[in-house]
C-alpha cells in the first residue's frame, strides 16, 4: 500500500474516527496525577526568580549584584553579561529574555537569581541595584506612529517603510489585487469607519514554568510547559552556546497556551542559572509576571472602507491596519492584512499593514494571530452596509463568499473550502430565526484562518503483546493524543484501547514544529497514518515471510494480514498481535516511522451567530445565545472539535466585552491579574452551541482541517454586530466595556 494513498473521504466508513473515546491522559488529569510545568522537582533543586524593570523605557546604566550574591542561600545571579553574543536572528528573543542596554517595557527581565528557597530569592532580588536612566515611553499604537513619539530604536525599520515616518514604524505589508479606486467608483455606497482594539492575553491558567539542569559537562535537561519543545531546545541551545543534541527538552503537560507558549521567556534564564550554580533550577512565573512579561497580542488601530451595491455585491474593499507588537519587530499585522478579506471573493481589494513598536511586552501568537481584529473591523463595516441597504446579513455574505477556486485577497486560489457550507448551516439553523426581545440584538460574522502543516515526526512501535506505542512530537494542547490514537487504531484495524499515545522528548524524534497554526491533528495525524501504513507494510512482510509467499500477495484488512490473489484463503489471517508475538523470530521489532514536512492543510472558515442584550442604563452586555458553525474537514474526535469551537468563541467573548491591557500614564500595566484582567467566568455565559460542518480537506488522508484557531476569528465581529444592534449605536472600540457602551449610547441619543 503506497504511503501517500488517499482515501475517498466521502466513502470511507470510519470505525473509530468520528467516535468519542476517552483520552489517554484523562485519568491522570481528573485525579491530580498529571504533571504540569511546575509539578516536577529534582534533588538539590534551587528556586529561580527574575528581577523586572519597573519602568516602561529606561537605559540601564549599571547593575550591581554583589549584595545579592553575598546573601546566604544565593547560588547564582545572572544579568545581561551572561547572555550573548547570538546570531542576529535570535537577538530579539535574547533581549526579551534578559534586557541588554535598555529596559523596553514594564516587566522586562533585568536580572535573575537562583537560591535555596523562594524567600531567599525574593530577598536577593531586592538587593540587586539597578541604575536606570528613565526615558520617555509610548504604549499606544497611534501615538507611537506620531513623528514626535519617543523612539525605541534608531534603525529598526526595513526598506518596506517609506521615509519620513516615525521610527517606531518598522514594517509595511501590502496585499490585494484589482484596483480599489475603480471598485469604489462603481459602488452605490462607500462606507468607511475607524476601529480600535485593545491588547489581550491568551490567559492560559498555567503560568510559565520549567525545571532546568545544566551541568559542567555541557549536558542539559529541561522540563517545560511549552507548545513546542523542539523549538525551545533549538533556541535555548543557541542562546547558551550549546550543541543542540546536548540539550534534551521534555514537554510537561501544558496548562493552556493558545499561542502564548510558542516562545521562550524564563527557560534560557533557568538554564543559565543552573549552569552557573551547577544545580537544578526551577522557575515559575507568578500570574503578575505572566501578564507583565509574557506575550500578549497586539492592540490595533484600523480603517476599513468597503463599497457595495444595493444588490449586496461588494465592489471594492480597502483596509489600513496598524498593530503594535510590543517592543520588538513582529506584530501579527501581516496575518491581519492577509486574512482581513479572505472570506470574500472580491475583484478589487487592498490591505496595508503597519508593524509598530511600543513600550509593551513582545507579543506572542494568540490563536489566529492578527486575524480577529481585522475581521472585527471588516465585518462591522459589512454589517453597516447591510443595514444601509436593508439587506439580510447572511445573504450578503453568501453573495460575496469565497468558494472553491476563488482568488484569495492575499494571493492564492482556494482549493476545496467550506465557507458557504457554514453560512448555509447558519442560515437554516433555528437560532437565525428565533425572536428577539427589547434591547436585544443579533450579530453574524465570518472568519478565516490559513492553517499550517509543517515539520512532523512520528514513531509507532508495535509491541510484542499486540499493543502499540505511538510517539508524537507535538505537545497535546487540547486532546490530540486521543485523536492520534484514533487515527492509528483506525489505520491498523485494532481497538483504540490498544494504542497508547505519548508526547516524546526532543531526543526521541526528529524535529517537530510547534503545536501552533492548527497543525497538530492535521500534521501529526497525517504522520501517524503514514507511520501506521509503514508498520502495516512491515507486518504484511513478516506474514509473507512466515507463509513463504510474496510480500505483494499479502493485504491488510480488519487488523489482520491476509493472503491475497492466488494465495487467498490458503493461510489463516494473522492479527497484528499474532505477528507481533513472534516478531523476534522473523526479523526483530516492528515499527513505523514518518518524517515529513506536511503540506496541504486546508483553509478553514467559520460563521458565528450571537444574540446579546444591553442594559442601556449601565451599558452592561449579557450574551444570550451563541452558535458556532465551522468547517472541520473531518472531525476525528468530535468532542474536542466542539471544545475548540466553544473555547475560541468564549475567548472571543472576553476580548469583545471586557478583556484589555490597561496602561497608566507611567507606562505601567494597571491590571496584571485575573481580578482586573477580566476573562469570562462560568456565570457570564450561556451554553455555546457547536455545529460541526464537514467539507473534507483533500490534502489529508481522512480529510482533516485544523480547527483550533478559526473559532476566535469571528467572535469579536459577531458580538460587536450584535451589541451594536442591541444598543442602537455602532461600537468601534474593543473591548465594549460597560463605560464605553454607556458613553456611546449617550453620544448617540
Amino acid at each position: 500500500m503506497p504511503l501517500d494513498q488517499q482515501i475517498d473521504q466521502d466513502e470511507k466508513d470510519f470505525r473509530i474516527v468520528g467516535q468519542r473515546p476517552l483520552r489517554p491522559d484523562g485519568i491522570d488529569k481528573v485525579t491530580g496525577r498529571a504533571r504540569f510545568g511546575a509539578d516536577m522537582n529534582a534533588p538539590g533543586m534551587l528556586v529561580g526568580r527574575v528581577l523586572r524593570s519597573p519602568h516602561a523605557h529606561a537605559r540601564i546604566r549599571s547593575i550591581d549584584t554583589s549584595k545579592a550574591m553575598a546573601l546566604a542561600g544565593v547560588k547564582a545571579v545572572v544579568t545581561r553579561d551572561d547572555f550573548g553574543p547570538v546570531d542576529e536572528s535570535l537577538l530579539d528573543v535574547m533581549v526579551n529574555c534578559m534586557a541588554q542596554d535598555k529596559a523596553l517595557y514594564d516587566g522586562h527581565a533585568v536580572a535573575a537569581v537562583a537560591a535555596t528557597s523562594a524567600s531567599v530569592a525574593r530577598k536577593a532580588l531586592r538587593l540587586i541595584e539597578v541604575d536606570y536612566e528613565v526615558l520617555p515611553h509610548v504604549t499606544d499604537v497611534d501615538e507611537a506612529m506620531a513623528l514626535d513619539a519617543p523612539a525605541l530604536y534608531e534603525n529598526a525599520a526595513d526598506e518596506s517603510v517609506p521615509a519620513g515616518m516615525s521610527k517606531n514604524v518598522v514594517r509595511r505589508y501590502e496585499f490585494g489585487h484589482g484596483d480599489v479606486e475603480t471598485g469604489f467608483a462603481a459602488a452605490e455606497v462607500v462606507f468607511e469607519q475607524s476601529f480600535k482594539t485593545e491588547a489581550t492575553h491568551q490567559g492560559y491558567i498555567e503560568p510559565h514554568a520549567c525545571l532546568a539542569t545544566l551541568g559542567p559537562d555541557g549536558q542539559g535537561d529541561l522540563w517545560v510547559c511549552t507548545q513546542g519543545h523542539f523549538a525551545v531546545r533549538n533556541v535555548c541551545a543557541a542562546l547558551l552556546g550549546m550543541d543542540v543534541s546536548h540539550l534534551r527538552v521534555t514537554s510537561s503537560e501544558i496548562g493552556g497556551g493558545f499561542g502564548g507558549k510558542t516562545t521562550v521567556f524564563i527557560e534560557p534564564v533557568a538554564l543559565a542559572l543552573s549552569r552557573k550554580a551547577n544545580r537544578p533550577v526551577k522557575m515559575t512565573m507568578s500570574r503578575e509576571e505572566v501578564f507583565r512579561a509574557s506575550g500578549p497580542t497586539s492592540s490595533t488601530s484600523m480603517d476599513v472602507k468597503i463599497g457595495m451595491n444595493s444588490d449586496g455585491r461588494i465592489t471594492a474593499a480597502h483596509a489600513e491596519l496598524r498593530y503594535q507588537g510590543g517592543a520588538f519587530v513582529g506584530s501579527p499585522v501581516e496575518f491581519g492584512a492577509m486574512s482581513a478579506f479572505a472570506a470574500y471573493d472580491l475583484e478589487h481589494v487592498k490591505t496595508v499593514g503597519w508593524d509598530v513598536v511600543t513600550n509593551r511586552p513582545k507579543q506572542a501568537a494568540y490563536r489566529a494571530p492578527g486575524a480577529p481584529m481585522a475581521a472585527f473591523a471588516v465585518e462591522s463595516v459589512i454589517d453597516e452596509l447591510c443595514k444601509h441597504f436593508d439587506l439580510d446579513p447572511m445573504e450578503v455574505r453568501l453573495k460575496n463568499a469565497a468558494s472553491d477556486g476563488s482568488t484569495a485577497a492575499y494571493g492564492p486560489a482556494f482549493g476545496k473550502i467550506g465557507l458557504i457550507a457554514t453560512l448555509e448551516a447558519a442560515k437554516n439553523h433555528p437560532h437565525y430565526s428565533a425572536p428577539l426581545g427589547p434591547n436585544q440584538g443579533r450579530g453574524v460574522a465570518c472568519g478565516f484562518w490559513f492553517n499550517f502543516g509543517g515539520q512532523t515526526c512520528v514513531s509507532l512501535n508495535i509491541q510484542e503483546d499486540g499493543t502499540v506505542a505511538l510517539s508524537v512530537g507535538t505537545p497535546d494542547i487540547g486532546g490530540s493524543r486521543a485523536s492520534m490514537g484514533q487515527m492509528a487504531a483506525e489505520e491498523l484495524g485494532i481497538p483504540y484501547e490498544k494504542v497508547r499515545t505519548i508526547v516524546a522528548d526532543t531526543a526521541s524524534l526528529g524535529y517537530n514544529d510547534i503545536s501552533e497554526g492548527s497543525r497538530v491533528t492535521f500534521s501529526s495525524g497525517m504522520a501517524t497514518i503514514q507511520a501506521a501504513r509503514d508498520a502495516i507494510e512491515k507486518l504484511c512482510g513478516r506474514a509473507a515471510q512466515m507463509w513463504g509467499i510474496d510480500e505483494d500477495a499479502v493485504i491488510w484488512e480488519d487488523g489482520c494480514a491476509k493472503p491475497a490473489g492466488e494465495n487467498a484463503g490458503k493461510f489463516e489471517p494473522m492479527s497484528l498481535a499474532e505477528i507481533a508475538a513472534v516478531a523476534a523470530n522473523t526479523g526483530g521489532p516492528i515499527a513505523g516511522h514518518t518524517e515529513i514536512n506536511a503540506d496541504g492543510a486546508g483553509q478553514s472558515f467559520a460563521t458565528h451567530l450571537v444574540d446579546s442584550e444591553v442594559d442601556p442604563e449601565t451599558g452592561r452586555v449579557q450574551i444570550l445565545r451563541y452558535t458556532v458553525f465551522q468547517d472541520a474537514g473531518k472531525a476525528i474526535h468530535p468532542s474536542y472539535v466542539e471544545g475548540q469551537f466553544q473555547g475560541g468563541a468564549v475567548q472571543g467573548i472576553g476580548w469583545a466585552l471586557n478583556e484589555e491591557y490597561i496602561y497608566g500614564e507611567d507606562g505601567r500595566l494597571q491590571n496584571a491579574g485575573f481580578l482586573d484582567y477580566r476573562i469570562p467566568v462560568a456565570s457570564d455565559l450561556p451554553m455555546i452551541d457547536a455545529v460541526i460542518v464537514e467539507v473534507p480537506n483533500p490534502g489529508h488522508p481522512y480529510g482533516v482541517r485544523g480547527v483550533g484557531e478559526t473559532s476566535i476569528v469571528p467572535p469579536l465581529a459577531a458580538i460587536a454586530n450584535s451589541v451594536s444592534a442591541a444598543a442602537g449605536v455602532r461600537l468601534t472600540h474593543l473591548p465594549m466595556s460597560p463605560p464605553r457602551i454607556r458613553k456611546a449610547i449617550k453620544a448617540g441619543s
Binding site: 485525579t31 491558567i205 493558545f258 468532542s639
Partner: protein, 158 residues
C-alpha cells in the same frame, strides 16, 4: 526564623509538617507534601485552580496559611477518587470531554463535589455561579457545566 509545626488531617490521613509563618497551604501541599494535584494559577484567589476544602468548606488554598490548618480537616483532589474508583464527577468529566488542557480540572472537581454535597439538584444557573471562581480558558465552560449537571442527575437516580 523558626518554623511552625502543624498537625492536620489531609484526605483522612493524619499529617504533620513544618512550615514558615507566611507559607500558604497551597505551598505546603505542593512543595512540602508533594501533592501537586492542587494547582497554582494566580496565587491571589482569582482562579480557583488551588481549590481544596477545609472542614468541608470550599476555599482557595493560596489564601490559607499553612499554619491555619492545625487541627483541621483538609481535602484535596488527591482524595476525590475512592482508591481505584473514580468519583462520578471524575467519570463524567472524562465522558463529556470537560477538560482540554486539564490544569483547572482539579479545582473544578473539588468545587463541583462541594456543590453536589450541598445541593443534589442544582440548576444550570446555580452550577455556573457556584463555579464562577474557577477559571477555565480552554472549554468555554459548556462541557464542564454539562458534566456537573449530568453527574448530579446520575447521583440522584443512583
Amino acid at each position: 526564623m523558626s518554623q511552625i509545626h502543624v498537625s492536620t488531617t489531609i484526605n483522612g490521613d493524619a499529617t504533620e509538617y513544618l512550615c514558615e509563618a507566611d507559607e500558604t497551604l497551597l505551598d505546603v501541599l505542593r512543595d512540602r507534601l508533594g501533592m501537586t494535584g492542587t494547582k497554582e494559577g494566580c496565587g491571589t484567589g482569582d482562579c480557583g485552580a488551588c481549590s481544596v476544602t477545609v472542614n468541608g468548606r470550599l476555599v482557595c488554598s493560596c489564601l490559607v496559611l499553612g499554619a491555619e490548618a492545625e487541627g483541621q480537616e483538609v481535602a484535596t483532589i488527591e482524595g476525590v477518587a475512592d482508591g481505584e474508583t473514580l468519583h462520578p464527577l471524575q467519570k463524567k468529566f472524562l465522558e463529556h470531554a470537560a477538560l482540554q488542557c486539564g490544569v483547572c480540572t482539579p479545582g473544578f472537581l473539588v468545587a463541583a463535589k462541594s456543590l453536589l454535597e450541598r445541593n443534589s439538584d442544582p440548576s444550570e444557573e446555580e452550577v455556573r455561579y457556584w463555579l464562577a471562581g474557577n477559571l477555565c480558558r480552554c472549554t468555554g465552560y459548556d462541557k464542564i457545566i454539562r458534566a456537573v449537571l449530568d453527574t448530579a442527575q446520575e447521583m440522584r437516580s443512583a
